[in-house]
Symmetry: C3
Subunit: 351 residues, 3 copies
């Protein structure tokens, strides 16, 4: 039957605990991806902008942005995991491994590590650990996400519930430092920020000040670049006909990238994202929204055997159409209505 | 006179049967073009995404998308052939030759192979055979198109009519198989589709399901990337002032690329477009339209001496703002009002 | 204090005559930048499109577009010079040096060469000479611009006024010819224009005919590609809330690039921009505007010891929503209301 040829994706009842997915499509990344990422996000971190700057501190050359790597891996998981997603609920226990360089080829795999049907029996939560590897099998990024997936048939039998135990945060002593990294020659005039690890204190809040307005063409180009084929990002006809005035949803990862790029103003020496502790897309973003961001220093950690740089645990909040000079946040479980993203992560920064 | 310096393009009465054009502008293609093509179309075919995947089946590295090559060649022909076009009427007898790789340089030539004035004497049909070659003079793609071109002066003498004889389809035994191609190691887990040549039957119809909404910035960027300078794609002021509510026309080739990218869902192993048998832009597309597509298997052909893959003759129909679950088509000569493209072509697919 | 971490940029009273800025962020340019520039501007000059074409006349390979180099340098100066700019007033004495190739890394420096407080004491004019260099310290482009910058505190003491002496135009005998350049094999069939240096006469005017409509996503992508972080180009929420119906300002350099790209139709052999004599953004451009352009030949100059090419001094005027068949210009100081750009520059062209 012809309808078998075009994939409809997996529904909640199709998943099994321990199930492994080897995702399509392998992807060789290039300088073209790097240029597009820059043009789509406005990132200005020196290590991703300049080969000599990156080489001076021990990289082979300018690595691709950490979140570009993340999105490429995430994109590959969509066809198997979340084509029938109702909502992308969260991330945890994400660690970045080897840098991703132009010329490397990414593949991705996922394992189902948790399943729980919702009480309405129309959907369930799927927990997966996804891993992106390069052509040598080295891990680029490894993370857990959970997502609410529709059932094809509400009457279908659901597997017995299993909710994985996840750490609140990646322990800093397990952060992976790219091999050969030596930030001694790190040049703070070139990076554009004079502040290093020692200048930041837990509890400190930073308003990143700038705003970036989203356009349909931009988030759609970014999401296609990642070969993420979730139709909610692309099909305005469906969005319009399914709810009055409906618009395409912006891929949440694009908001993460914008928030990270905005954070360069205030955290310009946070040259590497080492881990994702937790992340939540608090509210959807749409074309026309202007994204702002602020960050809080949650913790500082020295790294085993390293006296040249340390790790900052950051919480970055992104909002839409609301500048962040007064740090909009949540009260208990209720977020300020402008908040779209709450991301908890570790970055590396020279001392 | 200054007005001589800025080209106004050729009018119908300027063309002569047998006339040869060596088109400007030579173009070295790069990984940047490949990344942009992916970001603009959402293509997910593995062979164009991954160097190792492409190398495993005999390519030097990931070739650029076949239609990207086609558009680059087409773009070069515009300044000489169709700057004064009223409508791009059709394609025929198109064959793809050697793969196009990053670093190659494209040039293009055309020969006028047919001319016929319209009865209103205000315009005429120009038939050209266009050929794109790489820096070694090897043919990348070779095709016939015909286009209705305005006359500068309705009273001008027209050449005697000559309509070329064109095949209904490219005979499958003349399809060009890229040298060294050996799809034995072709990996259907990585390509994202488990279906091969043997799984498809003539008459089978496939709804590609997904929809892709067009934005002005997207089609304009694609068309500029191809250095196609037909002003109808770029000048909104002219479009608005020449007809109320008028909008820029989307380059028909961008719709072809979107339809091909959408077809990955259902034809994910159709890794190479080998020929264009016929093509018609049934109706214009504009920014805001959401493109859907479905395909029919018109025929299957084994290739001389090849037991590892075969050729499928496909007809892909693209629509705007109309999902294709019920395969909107034509009745006699009258197309469903949503149809924008009817493309007949050969693809290669592993057995 | 956290507010120290996010840069607010310099205000007028922060500048000192003779002050030197070593700007962040170093940037390695790639084929990805070249492809994006082409997709965003529609440029069709052969020397930037084809490696063999460029090599035939003595370049190492296709250099990046001259204005792409300029914008990358300009972008780096923004964080230090013009984050609090009210208006970018003009350019002068700009000369292009060595070609910029993929793989090169750009850095930028500026010196404050003039300061003058405005009579209202709320702002002042800052004159800077900015210089972009490659990884070998060779100058890519060197130019003066002046910009009106707000004061943080109107009561702040201003430095004594100093207005630099600037030439009306770069003397043609000081134009820098890229080393090794030999346009003897320059192929006018491939470049798309049959006109050379000898065909142009001072006083001649050329309507470039085509129009290019600006989209928000396009100018924002271009401006982010240059890592220009002036918020007026990106933050639609601020634009909307600060003035009713307010829209983001298009980076004036994007209009320069569009005008240069449009000028290919009429000046297709002006293969290299050698100097910027003067430039003025007469009026702002916004998304939705359609840019047109015309040029006047101001002067012709032979170059010392060169019989193979000469320099044309051009004035290119760009308009919005107004075709240029009748060469809209200024009467005294009053420009036609459609004019957005008045650019005076030298180009090289084969004889």
């Amino acid at each position: 039957l012809s309808e078998d040829k075009a994939e409809r994706g997996n529904y909640f009842e199709d998943f099994r605990l321990g199930q492994i997915f080897d995702h399509a499509t392998p992807r060789t990344v290039t300088e073209g991806d790097a240029a597009l990422y820059l043009a789509l996000t406005g990132s200005r971190f020196a290590v991703h902008s300049s080969d000599p700057f990156a080489q001076a501190i021990g990289y082979k050359r300018a690595p691709l942005d950490d979140f570009l790597a993340f999105h490429l891996v995430f994109g590959k998981t969509v066809a198997d995991i979340s084509l029938n997603a109702i909502a992308n609920l969260g991330y945890a226990d994400g660690r970045f491994g080897v840098p991703l360089y132009p010329g490397d080829t990414i593949r991705a795999h996922s394992e189902v590590i948790g399943l729980r049907e919702n009480s309405n029996r129309k959907s369930g939560i799927v927990y997966v650990r996804s891993r992106g590897v390069n052509q040598n099998g080295e891990t680029i990024v490894d993370y857990v996400r959970w997502v609410m997936v529709a059932k094809r048939d509400p009457a279908a039998q659901a597997p017995s519930p299993h909710i994985p135990t996840l750490p609140d945060a990646v322990p800093p002593e397990t952060l992976i430092v790219p091999a050969g990294l030596d930030p001694t020659p790190y040049d703070r005039a070139l990076s554009g920020s004079r502040f290093g690890f020692d200048d930041y204190q837990p509890g400190e809040k930073i308003d990143h000040r700038d705003g970036m307005t989203l356009e349909e063409a931009e988030h759609a180009m970014a999401t296609r670049l990642y070969q993420n084929n979730a139709r909610v990002h692309f099909d305005a006809f469906q969005a319009r006909t399914q709810s009055e005035g409906g618009k395409r949803l912006v891929y949440g990862g694009h908001v993460i990238s914008l928030a990270r790029a905005l954070s360069c103003n205030g955290l310009g020496n946070a040259f590497h994202v080492a881990a994702i502790n937790a992340g939540r897309h608090v509210a959807p973003a749409h074309a026309g929204d202007t994204i702002y961001a602020w960050s809080e220093i949650l913790a500082k950690a020295e790294l085993p055997g390293r006296r040249d740089f340390g790790a900052l645990r950051l919480r970055t909040i992104a909002t839409k159409d609301r500048p962040c000079a007064d740090f909009p946040d949540k009260n208990g479980d209720a977020y300020d209505s402008a908040v779209v993203l709450d991301l908890d992560y570790w970055v590396l920064m020279p001392l």
